[in-house]
């Protein structure tokens, strides 16, 4: 089973819930693996004390111009739909940051002058604690496209841990990175807070999940801080509320230090129980 933990709005508690939930499930004896797919700003590793066991360099394939047989016909630039190739009178210029790795330039070149070569975009790191494994995707600075790294991180986990319950800690938002992290999951947990921002961004996330045809439920975090609009919305739309996590400055304090929450805060642990019960019910 694969569960994506997502949110429209950032800072609503995705990492707090996913890291605590992973520890909690593993203590219950479950075979669970966590993947940090927020590759632009991955920070699950700040909350998980674990040993590094493997690092894999992540690449995407980009065309590299080889002068030898090139007749400067310009076909490559003509077929590139992303303006990533410029055919000049005396040579071919490529712009890797604009390239989407579609291979059209390379494979349609009559002289094979643009072979695809691997280009580093980030790293995939596997960590191990006593009871579970954790995998992080981390995008190199200056790289614009998160999606290929998210895909490769998921692939790494799926190959290595086929039997485990997989938790995907998703990036925020509603666009391509979130879609990538959700499209192959069995269930998507949307974490929000009960404020107008939380509601606005939740409705955007829900619409996205509808387009993807996903099953989803909601966790209301910092419950009690704003208004009741999120609860009313979920009731109206028949969206299951998995749990409500009480607003509590002590939770924020533990989080600020990178500490686990549930061993110290009873109501948070109760919320984790509700999440586990909900997940069990999905099977």
């Amino acid at each position: 089973m694969t569960i994506t933990i997502a949110s429209g709005k950032g800072g609503t508690g995705k990492t707090t819930v996913s890291s605590n939930l992973t520890y909690y499930l593993s203590e219950m004896g479950k075979n669970v693996v966590l993947a940090d797919l927020d590759v632009e700003e991955p920070n699950s590793s700040l909350f998980i004390k674990a040993d590094k066991v493997n690092t894999k360099i992540a690449y995407t394939m980009k065309p590299v111009w080889v002068e030898d047989n090139c007749k400067l016909c310009g076909k490559c630039a003509e077929v590139c739909n992303f303006n990533a190739i410029l055919a000049l009178p005396k040579g071919i210029l490529t712009f890797p940051e604009l390239c989407h790795s579609c291979y059209a330039c390379s494979e349609l070149c009559p002289t094979d002058s643009l072979p695809m070569k691997p280009s580093k975009i980030g790293e995939i790191t596997e960590y191990k604690t006593e009871k579970f494994s954790f995998v992080e995707g981390r995008l190199d600075l200056g790289q614009e496209m998160a999606v290929p790294l998210i895909a490769q991180t998921m692939e790494y986990v799926n190959e290595k841990f086929p039997e485990a319950i997989k938790l995907w800690d998703s990036p925020p938002g509603t666009s391509c990175p979130v879609i990538e992290a959700s499209k192959n999951s069995d269930f998507v947990v949307l974490i929000t807070e009960s404020t107008p921002f939380g509601l606005n961004d939740l409705t955007l996330a829900v619409e996205t999940m509808k387009v993807l045809g996903k099953k989803y439920g909601v966790i209301i975090n910092r419950y009690g801080i704003g208004d009741n609009s999120v609860e009313e919305y979920c009731q109206k739309e028949n969206i299951p509320i998995i749990t409500k996590i009480k607003n509590d400055k002590e939770v924020a304090k533990l989080y600020s230090k990178g500490e686990l929450i549930y061993p110290k805060i009873e109501h948070f642990k109760n919320s984790l129980d509700e999440i586990v019960e909900f997940i069990e019910g999905l099977k």
Partner: protein, 295 residues
């Protein structure tokens, strides 16, 4: 005209509440740009009227004509994005996976594939509270190209500022370090980093600041929730000092952010005389003095 971009790396640090307060304070002399297009919500605090709307087209998606398709599989063989699936009679495109690269349509020897331009979202220009103007957008559900939409919002805000003779563009950026943020940062005169005194606040600040440095744009920082973890707040200050980034304000952990939000008010409107409002006003004056002296 000077453009100030507010970014945070990490989400939920108070970036939008703070930039909306700046927008409220400077409404008569600024155009606001909400560049967090994939979860745009600043309009809620600024009472945007959505008075002008236009379609935003970006990206294309392949469409296979079932009547022409011979089910030969040429398209399937070249697609690198798993966007083409086989059925018994013809091939089919999964639009969510399609990258719009045109490769399939170029190789189809039957001419069965056309590329259709997609509507990626809506662009708005709104009148807002205090007589201000705001450019904002809504990305289509499950749409791509948010970086391009960010560029469009910025471009619209700048054009509006020039046209209306405003001195500032205040941009609310998006989280992360990828394409929408890179788009948000381009051409800015000053970056305001909003972080929080947590372990992830520091981590994400360090990463996003490295990105800011590649743009060579001057930056200042606001540390929110500094008293949540004084030790972490010190570490953030040390990091910023080593990078020569001035801390222009430290805000305490304060539920005013959520309370004001629940009433759809900026922090300034919620209680103009509170400590937090005073600090935000001072920050804004400081920001103006920094960009105004910068040539």
């Amino acid at each position: 005209m000077k453009e100030i971009v507010v970014i945070s790396g990490k989400g939920g640090t108070g970036k939008t509440s703070i930039s909306a307060s700046f927008a409220y304070l400077e409404a008569s002399n600024a155009v606001i740009a909400d560049c967090d297009v994939d979860a745009a919500n600043m309009h809620l605090l600024l009472d945007a009227d959505f008075s002008h709307r236009e379609d935003f087209f970006s990206g294309e998606v392949a469409v296979i004509d079932e009547d022409i398709c011979t089910n030969c599989g040429e398209c399937y063989d070249v697609c690198r994005f798993d966007a083409i699936t086989k059925t018994d009679e013809f091939h089919k495109v999964n639009p969510i996976n399609c990258e719009g690269c045109w490769y399939c349509s170029r190789v189809c020897s039957h001419g069965a594939i056309t590329m259709k331009t997609q509507k990626a979202g809506d662009l708005f220009i709104s009148n807002i509270k205090n007589g201000g103007i705001m450019a904002h957008a809504k990305l289509g559900f499950a749409a791509e190209n948010s970086g391009k939409l960010v560029a469009k919002v910025k471009q619209t805000a700048r054009a509006k500022a020039t046209q209306e003779n405003k001195d500032y563009v205040i941009t609310d950026g998006s989280p992360g370090i990828g394409c929408p943020v890179i788009s948000s940062l381009s051409g800015a005169n000053l970056v305001v980093l909003v972080t929080e005194a947590t372990i992830s606040g520091l981590h994400d600040l360090e990463r996003v600041y490295k990105l800011v440095k590649t743009f060579k744009t001057p930056a200042v920082c606001i540390i929110n929730k500094y008293d949540l973890n004084l030790d972490m707040s010190d570490k953030i200050e040390q990091f910023l000092k080593s990078e020569n980034v001035e801390v222009i304000a430290k805000l305490s952990y304060d539920e005013t952010f959520a309370k004001a939000l629940a009433q759809a008010k900026t922090i300034i409107e919620f209680d103009e005389n509170s400590e937090i409002s005073k600090t935000i006003k001072e920050s804004w004056n400081k920001i103006k003095s920094v960009v105004d002296t910068d040539k």
